[in-house]
Amino acid sequence: MRLDAQLHYLDNAATTMVDPEVADAIDGAIRGVWANPSSLYGPAIEAHETLAAARSKVAKAIGCRPREITFTAGGSEGNNIAILGAVAPRRSWGNKIVVSGFEHPSAQLPIRNLGQQGFEVVEINPGPDGRLDVDRMAAAVDRSTVLVCCMAVNNETGARQDIARLAAAVKARNSRTAVHVDAVQAWLRVPLCLKNVDSLSVSGHKIHAPKGIGALYLREGYHILPPFLGGGQENGIRPGTENLPYAVGLGVAAERGAKAMKASSAHAAVLNARLRAGLAQIPGVTINSPDDGVPEVLNFSQHAVKSQTMLNYLSDRQIYVSSGSACDRGEPSHTLAAMGCDPKTIDTALRVSFCADNTEEDVDALLAALRQGLAELQHI
């Protein structure tokens, strides 16, 4: 899928290149399946069937039933629908939300906003290794807790959270508490466990589908009050005429991703080990990702050159990494801050994220440019 061997794209947690097979499937659907899936005539029935097939593929890759899948415009929309939708009907009996301290802004900000509207919000920060103390988080759940929200894999460090244990512990303390999981970075990188999980959001552009499509899993029988109202599509959860071509693309990407998951994880582990070994040779570098994080993401600090400067330097050499999350647009990382990292660690952090297309040459090019940059650039 890569276009240019000289281009070292190592920021796959920000977005991925669209798989040509996905693009072809979308192209076919855009040109061939144009009818509104909700209409009643022949071509519309075909559109409906096409959408249903895409939904099945996505459901299979998440591990649920097709009727539990709602197509969304992406991870942010999924998180907002799940959070706002869960809280609204539970307001009558509770006013507490428990959330991890390193959520993506699309979960963190709606919850903080609810905090300003009178909800008691408890944020549980991770330890220095980026992992959450599940027991501490579950202990914060009480009779009035309406929602617990947690990321399955952190977007900046790749730290995995023990969602299965967390969800079980939450339900043990209060069976009415809704559990929402942001699985945008976890999907097709680690197996998802849906037991005791009420809702879970995923996004297409992290798995080689285009931007603008995602899915929200809502456990059958689980009730939310959707924040948007409209024509009743997607069971009324996400109204608006369905983005059928992109849903088709998401289906293809999900199917292909699920098939390749094991091999691609193993490949990422090789690259991750190579990068860690290379970084160990560079004095002053510390790793911010936990040892058992997903191999696709590696976050480290070089303690010498500001992240933005190093990023610009690498960019001039066609090596693309990020200084944290692309969604923070250059602001200091709130995840590393929540982990208690010191300012210099945060200011000099870089995140490398792999996909199956990356090669050892990419890693070597990054290591060489990094060494060169550290020698040439002004240290802070």
């Binding site: 400067t309 610009n312 960019s315 001039d316 250059g330």
Partner: protein, 397 residues
């Protein structure tokens, strides 16, 4: 109904024999701003600019918005124009302002008679038109002291005008009547405000920005381009000069005392800006400095900066508090872009404890220890990138 825009000239009415030059410049600016909206006739008479549409269905709302950003105009109003026959005036007033009158409780009619041949005198016009409108809107009361709406009727030679409410204009003097200058645009909050303040005093200006890749990001440059575009509604078309500043900046860092770095860098930037300004025949430099805001803006530091080159340095923000600068920045619409978090060259390599009272002697001694700097500055000035900025370019970045 035919509608026109009346734009009232501000302090330029106080000018003497050269007033016509200011008026011509103002009319030119207005014509240019309205050019792609359709055909308008722009003419001046008695301290007022008449902006008359020459085609049907022109977007008067947008025209008024654009005119409100042209410097030289202190207030503007839209007005319906009609024949001078009094019945027609009454009917037009009702048609033009009836809806507004339904939503308020008090009003007043003012009349002005430029055409002294008109059979009714001003007080008669006020009384008669007021009575007519009261008969149409019995809920209304006349309040001559604090009316919610003051209706102005003007009887001029070629017709009558019935004005809607007056809205504020941008004030100042027409851009281009006070000379030409080069504004140092860093990407922060202050420098766009400085540019706006000086353009309001009639300066035509261009911008200069210092980029130090890889320490500064390409996004910082896009941000500055967006700021220049946002300002262009006020300043008019201009050029953004981008100086490749990495080498001089690294040279200063490597060859000068740490504590003097910022002042030495400011001096170096002003020298380069002066070279570019002279080449483009610009007469002054503009900065967003505010006294004592940071270490390089103390009185002692400004003395050192001023001595670096001989063009006058205009600092309109010098006596403003940060709060005032921020408020102005919000008003002119540059604040949201200014706070985007991309580092500019003013904040890199800065020492933790810069000297707040540098003396010119020690600064000149430090520069004597940097014999290669002049050549690097010359090269930077010569390799400047020119980005044309046009009014109406999308400021999104």
């Amino acid at each position: 109904m035919k509608e026109i825009i009346l734009a009232y000239q501000g302090e330029m009415t106080l000018k003497g024999l050269n007033r016509s030059k200011f008026e011509a410049r103002l009319a030119k600016s207005i014509r240019y701003r309205l050019e792609n909206l359709g055909k308008f006739k722009v003419s001046s008479s008695q301290s007022t600019v008449y902006i008359q549409p020459l085609e049907e269905d022109l977007d008067m709302e947008e025209a008024a918005r654009r005119v409100s950003k042209v410097f030289g105009i202190v207030k503007l109003s839209r007005a319906a124009c009609c024949d001078k026959d009094f019945d027609t005036i009454c009917q037009t007033a009702e048609a033009y302002l009836g809806q507004t009158l339904r939503g308020i409780r008090t009003f007043k009619v003012e009349a002005k008679r430029a055409d002294k041949q008109y059979p009714m005198k001003s007080p008669d016009i006020c009384r008669e038109l007021g009575a007519f409108l009261l008969s149409k809107h019995p809920h209304l009361r006349v309040n001559v002291h604090e009316p919610e709406l003051e209706i102005m009727v003007e009887i001029r030679e070629h017709g009558a005008y019935i004005h809607g409410p007056k809205t504020p204009g941008a004030g100042g003097l027409p851009v281009g009547t006070s000379g030409r200058a080069l504004n140092l645009l860093s990407g922060g909050i202050d420098s766009p405000v400085a540019a706006w303040c000086m353009a309001r005093r009639g300066l035509a200006l261009h911008h200069i920005h210092f980029a130090s890749p890889p320490y500064t990001s390409p996004r910082a440059k896009l941000k500055v381009r967006a700021l220049a575009r946002e300002l262009s509604e006020y300043t008019g078309n201009c050029t953004l000069f981008v100086v490749p500043y990495t080498k001089p900046q690294e040279y200063i860092r490597d060859n000068a005392p740490d504590v003097l770095f910022t002042v030495l860098m400011r001096r170096s930037m002003l020298r380069i800006a002066a070279m570019v300004a002279r080449k483009c025949e610009l007469e002054a430099l503009i900065t967003g400095e505010s006294l004592a805001q940071v270490a390089s803006q103390t009185m002692a530091a400004l003395v050192c900066t001023d001595a670096a080159q001989s063009l006058p340095v205009l600092r309109p923000c010098i006596g403003m508090d940060k709060n005032e600068i921020v408020a102005l920045s919000r008003r002119i619409g540059t604040f949201e872009t200014s706070i985007e978090p991309y580092e500019d060259c003013c904040t890199i390599f800065t020492p933790p404890h810069p000297k707040t009272r540098p003396s010119l002697d020690e600064i000149e001694a430090a520069e004597a220890g940097m014999p290669g700097l002049a050549e690097l500055e010359q090269a930077a000035a010569e390799n400047v990138e020119r980005i044309p900025i046009h009014i109406g370019d999308d400021p999104e970045f």
